[in-house]
Each structure stands twice: as C-alpha cells, then as structure tokens.
C-alpha cells in the first residue's frame, strides 16, 4: 500500500467543494432552527424568557412532563390514525383515478386532468372555507341534500361538533386536496409501462385484474412508494386545515392533531420549551414512520 503514489490516494476535492454551497444553505436553513429547538427543549423557556430573562437549563424535565401527560398520547394516537387513514385512502383513490385516465378516451382524460389540476391549485384556505360552507349546519348544501333525500335527522346537523364527523370533514378536505398529485404522478408512471407487455399478457389470456396485480402495480411500484411516503409525511404534519375547521366551532382539545398541539403549546400558551420538545418528538416520529419506505427506496436505488 505504501508504495502507491501519494497523489492517487488523495480524494478528488472538487465534488466536495461543489456540494459546499447547498450544504451551507441546508445548515443555515435547517440546522440552525433544529439546533435552537434542541437547546430550547432542554430549558425553561416561556414568555418571560422571550422578554429577556435568562433561560434556565432543566435537562429532560420538559420531555418528562410532556410524555407523562395522557393528552399528548391521545394526540399522537389520533395523529397517526389520521395520517395513515388519509395517506392510504388518498393513494387508493389516486390509483383508481390514474387507472381510469388510462382507460378513457383522450377528451375525457383531459377533462379529468383539468379538474384534478384545479382542485390541486385551489389555495388551501379557500378550499377549507368552501368545505366549511358545504358542511355549514344552517345553510350548508350537504345537510340540505341529505334532508331532501329523506334523512330528516340531518336538518341542522352540526358536522364539526363531534370528533368523528369533524375528522370526516377534515379528511374530505385533505384527501380532496392531495388526490390530484397522487393521481397525476401514478398516471405518469403508468404511461411508462410498455404497451407490448400488456398486449402479450392479454394474448396469454390474463384478466384485467391479473394485469393490474402482476404487471401494472409492480412496474409503478417505485412511484407508488414515493407518493405514499410523501403522503404519510404530509398528513402527519397537517395543521392549517384542522385549525381553520376548529375556528368554525369544534371541540378543540378532542380534535387537535400534533401540529395543532404544538401550535397551542407554543403560540397560545407561550411554552416554547414544551413546544420544541414535542416538535422534536414529531421529527423522530416522522423518521420512524417513513424509515421502512426510505430504506426500501434506497435498496431499489442500489439495484
């Protein structure tokens, strides 16, 4: 080894130098806030500290206090359930729409795509406002339709008043807003499946279900995994939709998800330390939930 000329052992420097700018941006934009959060989560940091009192280091006391509350675990369980249900329903609906687009004539496909893009382009606050109006207990069209259809008990039914129906409305919004991305991504993936393979399968007498299960899905699996992973991450971080719905009158404590819980701790109760502690917990949770997918993606990339 020592006989090798020195210059061959020297690693090339330019690739690292090229990486440097983006690394600096990442550290400045992500590293600083996370570092601040880690430090703050181990201090007593409230409104008084915000106004200049020196923060006191308390070690893991904030974590112990937060994790010993039933309230946090209720929020965690609710958030995970909400995230998984929404992510899987979104991907299933998106897949169904992508397959539909593959099957229909071009003109109808364009109509579907335009509709999807419009739904996706709707600003979130506007979308939530529209849903609030749709489900309004006094003048909402949903109650009107249900009552007209003979379901008298929906006259004046307050959808946002009980957690279950609240999350039904919340899920409708979240799914409605995220299906377009999934549908269009999967459709793009489906167009990459060579037509010859499908024709060959048809000649062999494969049923449409068999073609879907054995040819189409395996071939779009990379796209499917990525959109599912993204949906899980996004749906775990959902905040504004819930907050805006709560503003229309809802049982707040029973409908808080993790994002809302952190906001309540930080912005409303001014307990920035506890808010930081829960934020870091959510970061860990996100990594944990998405790790299996990231790993399988990495493995696929290696292959």
């Amino acid at each position: 080894m020592s006989t090798l000329p020195l210059r061959r052992r020297r690693p090339p420097r330019i690739p690292y130098l090229l990486l440097l700018p983006s690394l600096v941006v990442l550290i400045a934009a992500l590293g600083y806030p996370i570092g601040w959060q880690i430090v703050t989560s181990m201090q007593e940091y409230g409104l008084a500290q915000q106004f200049g009192q020196p923060p006191v280091f308390v070690g893991l006391a904030n974590y112990i206090e937060i994790f010993s509350q039933d309230q946090l675990w209720a929020v965690v369980a609710r958030s995970i359930a909400f995230c998984l249900v929404n992510a899987f329903v979104t991907v299933a609906l998106g897949l169904a729409l992508a397959l539909l687009m593959r099957a229909v004539p071009a003109a109808i496909k364009v109509i579907i795509q335009v509709c999807l893009l419009l739904a996706w382009a709707t600003p979130m606050v506007a979308a939530v406002t529209v849903f609030r109006w749709l489900f309004d207990y006094r003048s909402g069209i949903v109650n009107w339709l249900l009552t007209e259809a003979g379901l008298e008990r929906f006259a004046g039914f307050a959808w946002l008043s009980s957690p279950l129906t609240f999350f039904l409305v919340a899920s409708s919004i979240v799914i409605w807003m995220s299906v377009p991305f999934v549908a269009l991504s999967l459709y793009a993936g489906l167009t990459q499946v060579p037509q010859e393979i499908i024709e060959a399968a048809q000649i062999d007498g494969a049923s449409p279900r068999r073609i879907l299960g054995s040819i189409l899905l395996p071939m779009v699996r990379p796209v499917l995994s990525v959109v599912l992973l993204l949906q899980i991450i996004w749906d775990l971080r959902v905040f504004a939709q819930i907050r805006l719905l709560q503003d229309a009158g809802a049982p707040v404590a029973e409908t808080n998800l993790l994002g809302n819980f952190i906001y309540e701790l930080g912005a409303a109760r001014q307990d920035f330390a506890a808010a930081s502690a829960v934020s870091l917990f959510v970061l860990a949770l996100t990594v944990l939930l998405s790790w299996p997918y990231v790993r399988s993606l990495l493995k696929e990339a290696e292959e």
Binding site: L20, A28, D247, V252, A268
Partner: protein
Amino acid sequence: MKRRLPAVLAASLALGLAACSSPTDAETSATATGAPGSSAPAEGGDITMWVAGGDTPEALRQYLVDTFAEENPGSTLTIEEQAWPDLVSKLTTALPDAANTPDVVELGNTQTPTFATVGAFLDLTDMYDELGGDNLLQSFVDVGTVDGQIYAVPYYFGSRYVFYRPDIWADNGVEVPTTLAEFTEATEALTTDDMSGFAMGGQDWRNGISWVFANGGELATVDGTTWTSTLSDPNTIKGLEMWQEVVMGASNLPTTERDVAYWDFLNDGADGAAPDAATIMAPGWARWSIGDLTTNDDGDEVRDGMADASKYDIFALPGVDGGVAPVFAGGSNLAISAASQQPELSKALLRIIFSEEYQRMLGENGLGPANSMYTDSLGDDKFATTMIETAEASKLTPAAPGWAAIEGAFVYEELFQKIAEGGDVAALAAEYDETLTPMLNG
C-alpha cells in the same frame, strides 16, 4: 474555480440567512433613523402604533396621524392594523425585538396582564395623572398594574346587552323580563324547532360568564400573587347551572359554536322569512348589523341600524334580583413597548389619545371613552344609556398572568361546551378547577 468559490459561498450564505431571518416589515429602516444616539427628543423620529381589529374608525386614525405630525414637526406616526386572532403571537415575537417592535400597541384587556407581568411594557406610572388619573376606567387600569406600577392604560370600553324582536315577543305574549330567572322562562317560551328563543353558542363563555357574575360568582380569586380557579364556589355553580338551563332550553345552536355572528339570527330571513332567533346578546356595535335592509349613500345594501323600534329593540340583561346583571366588559388597553426606541414620542402620542378632543371622538363613534369625564359623548339615546348602564355593572376576567394562555388553549370553551351538552356542573367545575389553577399562575 478556486477564485470563484468565495462568491458562490457568499451568495449561498446570504440565501441561507435570508431564509432564516424574517424581517416583519420595512420598519427597520424607519427605526434606524430615530435610533438612540439622536439625543435631542425634538429631533424627527418615526413611531408605529398597532391597533387591533377594525374597531378604531378610519377618521380617528387619520386624526391621530395628522395631530401627531402637527405637534411633533419632523416626526411621523404610522398606524398598522393587526387582526385580533393573531395579536398575541405577533406581540410575543415583535415586542422583545427593538428593531421591529411597534412603539404603541392596543391589546385586549384580558391579554394585558400576560404581557405586563413579563416586563414587555414601559412603566407609565409617572404620566398616569396627566393621562386622566383616577378618572380613567379603573378595572382596565388594574389589569395593567403590576406591583403598584402602571404599565397599560385603558383605550376604550364596550359592553354587551340583549337585542330582541319585540314583534315576536308580543305575538307570543311574552314580556320583557325583570329578573334573570324570568329571562330564562321568557326565552324558553319563545323557542320552537325553527327558532331559538335565545341564540347562544355552547362554547360562548364570554357571554356565559354574565350568569356567573350575576349570581355573585367568580372565575378565579387571587391571594397575594397566587391565583385559584373558583368554579366550584357555590355561587359560580349556581350561575353555571342557570346558564345551562337557558342554553339547553332556549337555544337551538350547536354546543360547539363560539364566535357566532348572532345578529344574523335576529334579522329576518330571505324574503321576509321568520328569523332564526327571537333574542340574542351582543356588543353594542352589533346594532349596525341589525335591522331591515336599506340602501346607503354608496348604493350598497345595508341594515338600517334597528330603525324600526317595534321590530328591533334592546334591554340590559336583568340581574338575579332585578336590576342589571354584570356582563363581561369588552375593551382594549394601550401600552408602550419597553423596547421602543422612541419612548418620548410614544408618550406624546398617548397625550393626544387622552386629550378631551380624541376621547370625545371615541364616544361619538360608539366606543366607550377611557376617561369617564367624557362618557356623555356617547350620546343619550337608548343605545348609549343601556351601554353606560351595563358597562357600569360590567366585570373583567381575572387579571392572571396565565390568562392569555388559557384563552389560547380554549379551556373555558371546552368547559362551557360540556355544560351546554348537559354535563354535571359540579363535577365539571371540580375537574376544570384542577386544570385551570396551575394555568392561571402561568
């Protein structure tokens, strides 16, 4: 390659920093001109005032800007409006930041103790007498007082009373009540499947606590500096139970409603259809959203402000034994940021606000002036007299340091919702006392 690198680095560093720091507005340059160092206070400077919501009318804002410019040559006042729901978080981030802090801020009276106790505001004790002294609304002064020092002064007060439909009440043979129990009876009698006798959202504790106060109850008491939630006090429980009775018996609204535009319920429906409620409770300015439709000078369709007294009228919420029930006093305080770079100019602005002329302008616009010497500027019609009558009997929420946190976490909303759903009041009171006492103390 090597020669170019620093430029790339610098550029990306700048990008990274730009992503990090978030200058709230262009005030930075303005404050810089009037930064310390400029020793003579007469030197020109710029100050910013935050008003909360649209309560301060445009004409009053213009008056402040013009008068300030006139009295302080070379200096300017900028008024920025902040939305009520964002106010606490904006104050939390802006006030400690000397480069971006507003100089004078308006904030809700219930939010004042939270900031006054952490030293966010400038001590105004030495100019208290000059601003009006004991003539200022004392309950509002109290929420801004910490250890005998005054950090916030009243801006304006509002009050709330009952708006009702005399035509519907008369059709049902129901008369204006003189006691709180009669009020429950009357509004229950008016209630049908399609119309609330008294529209009241289940989470609406700001109106609901009037029933607590009327029964001599309190939400919390203080012993020295330690606050205790007193929901389990017999008087408080009596009040909560009375409220439960009227909400369950006379209101068809969902128990989760909180910020309800009640006035919509009192107006006739489309094409003269019957209203959704025969009675509501609201702040005095709700008057301008009530009445029959008419057209204003700009050709817009507006409510006529209850012109037809046989159709729309008001009364003060009656007390338990007659008289007037103490209601929750709405209103705002004013304070100067402790981090303000222009304390002298900020004080000059306060002097303008507390001048007789401006105080009277507040009254003429239906806002209760901070200085009780000018209360007569509100006028002498029934709206003004009822407002003054109810405001005199009104009460504030506890001036506890943790109050803003409790409001932010919707704790009372939750409690009142459970009561409105028919929960056992004594058990709920005991449960929420335990939650609230540590929160009150911050």
